[in-house]
Amino acid sequence: MQSTSARSAATEPAVANKRLQVRGRFLTAVALPVGGAPGEGYLAALDELLKQSPGFFSDAPLILDLAEAEGLDAQAGFAALLDGLRTRGMVPFAVQNATEAQKAAAAAVGLTALAGGREAALPRKSASPEPEPIPQPEEPVSTTVLVTEPVRSGQRIYSERGDVVVVGSVASGAEIIAHGNVHVYGRLRGRALAGVHGDETARIFCQSLEAELIAIAGLYKTSEEIGDAFAQRPVQAWLEDDALRIVPFK
């Protein structure tokens, strides 16, 4: 017994230092209405829809809308419906607009009941005959957030996946937050946080460093620590050996 506990103590990984980062995620789900008592007729109508747009439902997060559904308050009914859907490559993960009985039956087959959510445009046109790939929008969009007006006190500019470029000054009390680099073609008086998701190669560039606080990948320096040496001069800041370096441009 003692050896077992000694082994388990030894194999305790050093995971404790890394914090589990739970992030939110936006997805557009497809809401499939279930009308009446879903039986053969319903599945036949689905087949029609799939013939017109074969790839429409593949890999889409699917929600069953039970607003008009009859029955389905027993687990058996749900299981049958799910079988029918799964053989057609459709895998729902939740229901909405369900009665209490329907919710219970849904839970029994592993579907959660959703409350909120709002109408959203579907990522792809359903009338298209070509088999479309994953409906989630994958258009090549620039990840850079570009701001061409001065950033006013109290405003917050956030780039979730890229850089932030400000053509103008950043006022005291404003915040610039970027997954990547922060570029300010003006005076940086507020806060700039670069590499907020952990990118230690991110940098901050500005034409005059008068910031209240700058941070790269969580490591920060306040105005007091930066001092006045860099005001009125174009500088860049980056991480080196776990310390923030601020160096003026020549």
């Binding site: 006013r152 006190s153 109290g154």
Partner: protein, 271 residues
């Protein structure tokens, strides 16, 4: 259709009500039918500054809540028949203000008046928000002092995002910077921010520079808008500001004190 101008600042005590009264009176003196509305519910002082506090029967909130007609609440200034005041309630608070109620009153006023001046309370809460929400133009009153400048900056940001024009994607609210309580001697000593520094931080067109003046305190105690005291530099500065608001191009005057000889005044003119 009336032009709706909000006089706002963020920071308290910088001269919003004084300026709203002066600008309102200035516009009326130029022949424009003008009404000034006090949005500072519960802490009203526009009526005192304008000298009509003894004639308030019904107020803005009464009209919004349908307890009185607009005609019953509007007070016409005894000195200028073009100028009217709509006082705020002193017994209620800003929760009595509603967007629909304010919109209705402004629409009704638009039919009769050329200019509607909204005197905003300090802060960025409901009263200030509603005062700016329907505005076409804004006069951002700022003292040449760091906390006032920062608060004004915040308000300018709100003007471009939390107003009806911004929400509807229409032409944005036109902001103007009104620098008040300016004291050139203190600027020279380095105790006060320079005009250029304030302009650089706020980046909005300068409407006017109102010098620190004992005339202002006298005016509010007597209940007369500053512009009536025509010889004082503050009154002249407000008159110039009103002219610029109406689109005229005027050279900016910077006055250091109350008395300046003719010679000094010529030399002291700055562009």
């Amino acid at each position: 259709m009336a032009k709706i101008t909000v006089v706002t600042s963020g920071k308290g005590g910088v001269g919003k009500t004084t300026s709203a009264a002066a600008i309102g009176a200035g516009l009326a003196m130029r022949g424009k039918k003008t009404v000034v509305i006090d949005f500072d519910v519960g802490l009203r002082n526009l009526d005192v500054i304008m000298g009509c506090e003894r004639r308030v029967v019904f107020d803005f909130i009464n009209v919004i809540q349908g307890e009185a007609r607009l005609k019953q609440a509007l007070i016409t200034d005894r000195r200028l028949e073009n100028l009217s005041i709509l006082a705020a309630s002193q017994t209620r608070d800003k929760d009595a203000l509603t967007t629909e109620g304010v919109e209705k009153v402004l629409d009704e006023l638009s039919e009769e008046f050329d200019h509607i001046i909204c005197d905003s309370p300090a802060g960025i809460e409901r009263g200030a928000h509603l005062a700016m929400y329907f505005a076409d133009e804004a006069v951002v009153v700022t003292n040449p002092e760091v906390s006032s400048v920062r608060d004004s900056d915040r308000v300018i940001g709100l003007l471009s995002s939390k107003t009806r024009r911004a929400e509807k994607g229409e032409e944005p609210v036109k902001p103007h910077l009104l620098l008040t309580r300016y004291d050139e001697a203190r600027v020279a000593r380095g105790e006060m921010m320079k005009i250029e520094d304030v302009e650089e931080i706020l980046s909005i067109p300068l409407l006017g520079i109102i010098p620190e003046s004992p005339a202002v305190l006298k005016a509010s105690n007597v209940g007369t808008p500053v512009v009536f005291d025509e010889k004082t530099p503050a009154a002249k500065a407000y008159t110039d500001a009103v002219a610029r608001l109406l689109g005229e191009q005027l050279e900016m005057r910077v006055q250091p004190g109350e008395r300046r000889g003719l010679f000094q005044r010529i030399l002291g003119r700055t562009a």
